[in-house]
Amino acid sequence: MFLVLLIYWGIRAKWRKHFLILASYIFYCSWKWQYGFLLLGLGVFNWAYGRWVIKTSGQRKYLWPGIVVNVSILIIFKYAKFIVQNISFLNVRLGGYPFPIPDILLPLGISFFTFQGVAYLVDVASGERPFLKLTDYLLYKAFWPQLIAGPIIRPREIHDQIENERKWSNENIEYGLKRILSGFFKKVVLADNLAPLVDAVFLKSASPGFIDMTAGVLGFGLQIYFDFSAYSDIAIGSARLFGYRFPENFNWPYLATSPREFWSRWHMTLSRWIRDYLFTPLAVSFRGAKANILLAVMISMGVCGLWHGAAWTFVIWGLWHGVLLICGEVLFPAKKKRRPIISNLIRYGGWVFTMLGVFIGWLLFRAESISAVQRIFKSVSMAPLLKPQLLRENQLILVATIFLFTFFVNVLKTLGWQAKMSSSQLWLAVRPLVMPLIYAVAVAIIIIADTGSKAFVYFQF
């Protein structure tokens, strides 16, 4: 990336976009070059379809073929195996023979770039201006920091940035480097250290007890948050180095006091995609009755789950969140005027409810299958309640430490310490001396911790 950055800012402005497209495709093709053609083909199709078919005709009915193409590609590459497996299972149950299961390698980031394609076509059909130049659209589609795992950027968020020349700015570089450093710290120091113990709990042959399962689920909730928000930090920071601003993807999700708030803080660009391109159209088309809105919530969250992976555990995870959203609205309705004590009680109650729901959901998310979830519960029910069956003391201490650290930072955030500190005279005086040391220590810790780094969890989606 350093080399690309140097060349990017070193060449003439008019070549920069072309260079970024080239670099992005080289990056993508370095994994499996054949899939570069899929990305390119889909890019050219979406650009041409948006520019020439939807915009020129001005008719929304032409939107559907474009959506079908994007979704079909997603289904073929991501869900064909899952669909055939399920049909085959049913066929066997009905006395037939099993079907051969297709073995298709999942193209990296397909869930992201197909959803982005759908968003583009819908937005153009809704009146957004399309990208006039193919190169602009190809950059929007393939710009490497967001290509593999988002954020899912909407055209209007980046349209002007792509069309206008990007200018070097020291602030951008400083901000970008800080975000990248923060991302590496979360990934290498926190997420990767939690991974082995989470893997141990969810191993097929493991027999966790209650303590192990709790530690495993807490650990996974923290791991996936640090892992994915780390990727988003690195993506946002890297884009900023090139002069582009990406939307945020996380906003302290574990501070959410209701499931609805959780989804406005967790993977924000996906939840807003689901809201705008799935839930709202469904709710509008179902119209009227409350039951229909609930159905739209459940369908949207089911699709959200399925988007994460071709397995029933993901569907159930999505539906579970649908139930949480509905229960959250019933139990903790948003009312403006309440006595402060009641308001606080509802807030804390809502936080406990949300976190319980979210972390139970992580169990479904991480388990390999429904039978794995059953196995874990069976094992927990048979083991003594408070005796670890699997994890060593130091692993339990690690989870507890990272959990308490996260909790502590979240509490500081809630109390507004960041703002208070920024305005403190003492901090302002020592900041120039302390910050370089903090950054140097963070770099050192990342280097020392990085002896066996793992792939980002969200790459699989």
Binding site: A206, P432, A440, A455
Partner: protein, 376 residues
């Protein structure tokens, strides 16, 4: 070409940052030099011990860190009866070491050499049963290293450990045939030993991921290049290990854990290790290797971390397993008198003895299992 001026905005802070990085690297250089010096001294001491009877090492001096490198010293099994002795740190650690001291495997080798058997030690700290199984597979793969007898000293608290250490992973990763053998064994025994075989497949999966990463040549090359250039990157493995040890010490201090603090077994890990041991025995027999199991000596007067009922049950289980499978077994728990044990952290060491303890253990092993160790 326009060169951006990154230092313009916060020049002083950037300079400070790099100064700190230089300070850290300098400190690490000094630390690393000290570490290397200590290592060299230890290695020389071990080399001296190893070479007192023979010119070649007679056990894996790297104690699991670089085993592949020591396999070339294994006596040729095609020319003499090869015996492998495996186990935890008791096999090679010598308290209050003297020049004439030797490890168990070296004493055994001295005792058996004349009768046509050679002994080689493959031990590592806190070795677990998955690792011993891997060593068995690695050794039986080639006729020249295939042992006639594989002795394994069972240590109760090692049944808390799982997974292959990096050195053993490297050994497995370096040999495609061994990987195939590992996988086929896991598949073959899937129904009989579900926990152990599932773990084997999981090990293989992590190995493949590491392999993919290692094959990513640009990244690997950059890392290799930088590790030569920047001390903190070059020393990060050691720093990581040091840091982990400090965390353990902190944990021990905070929770008042001593080496002898009573620690119950972790059921799932214990069960998995039990399966691994049974699988090890099955595979040894399958390969025409005689497995010998013994319970390692413990200091009779030192406190140990075992819960008595658990430990008794473990010994009963191990004995029953061996009897059931007709495997030579003995309990050497109390063969070493108290005076032969050293001290650790200001108290008696319950697991590692002085040089004399190694000699006595070797003699006991030879005496009790002589019929299996000496060729007919």
């Amino acid at each position: 070409m326009r060169i951006p001026n990154i230092l313009q905005a916060k020049k002083a802070q950037v300079i400070q940052f790099f100064l700190w990085i230089i300070v850290f690297n300098s400190a690490i250089c000094v630390w690393k030099n000290d570490l290397e010096r200590n290592r060299q001294q230890n290695l020389l001491q071990r080399q001296r011990v190893a070479s007192s009877g023979d010119a070649m090492p007679r056990y894996d001096l790297s104690t699991g860190e670089d085993t592949a490198n020591y396999l070339r010293f294994v006596p040729d099994a095609l020319r003499q009866r090869l015996i492998i002795l495996s186990g935890m740190s008791q096999m090679y650690a010598i308290n209050d070491q003297k020049d004439e001291d030797q490890t168990i495997s070296e004493w055994m080798d001295d005792l058996l050499k004349a009768s046509g058997s050679r002994v080689f030690g493959l031990a590592a700290p806190n070795i677990c049963n998955e690792e011993v199984l891997m060593l068995l597979l690695a050794m039986t793969k080639n006729a020249s290293t295939k042992p006639a007898v594989f002795i394994y000293g069972l240590c109760f608290d090692k049944f808390r450990n799982v997974d292959l250490r990096p050195g053993y992973k490297a050994l497995l990763r370096s040999d495609p045939d061994l990987i195939i053998k590992w996988e086929s064994l896991a598949n073959e025994y899937r129904d009989k030993y579900p926990k152990a075989t599932d773990k084997m497949l999981s090990t293989l999966k992590s190995l493949n991921e590491e392999k993919k990463k290692a094959n990513n040549s640009v990244e690997t090359d950059i890392r290799r290049y930088l590790s030569k250039l920047v001390p903190i990157i070059g020393a990060r493995g050691d720093l990581n290990a040091w840091f982990q040890v400090q965390l353990y010490l902190l944990r021990n201090k905070l929770f008042k854990i001593k080496p002898t603090s009573k620690r119950p077994q972790i059921p799932s890990r214990y069960q998995m290790n039990k399966e691994f041991l049974a699988l090890f025995l099955d595979e040894a027999k399958e390969q025409d290797v005689i497995p010998i199991i013994y319970i390692v000596p413990l200091n009779p007067q030192a406190e140990n971390p075992y819960i008595p009922e658990e430990y008794e049950s473990f010994k009963t289980w191990a004995k029953a397993l061996c009897e059931e499978q007709h495997i030579p077994f003995d309990n050497l728990e109390s063969v070493i008198p108290h005076e032969d044990w050293g001290e650790i952290l200001g108290g008696p060491d319950f697991k590692h003895f002085r040089g004399e303890g190694h000699r006595r253990t070797a003699e006991e092993l030879v005496r009790r299992f002589r019929s299996y160790l000496v060729p007919n």
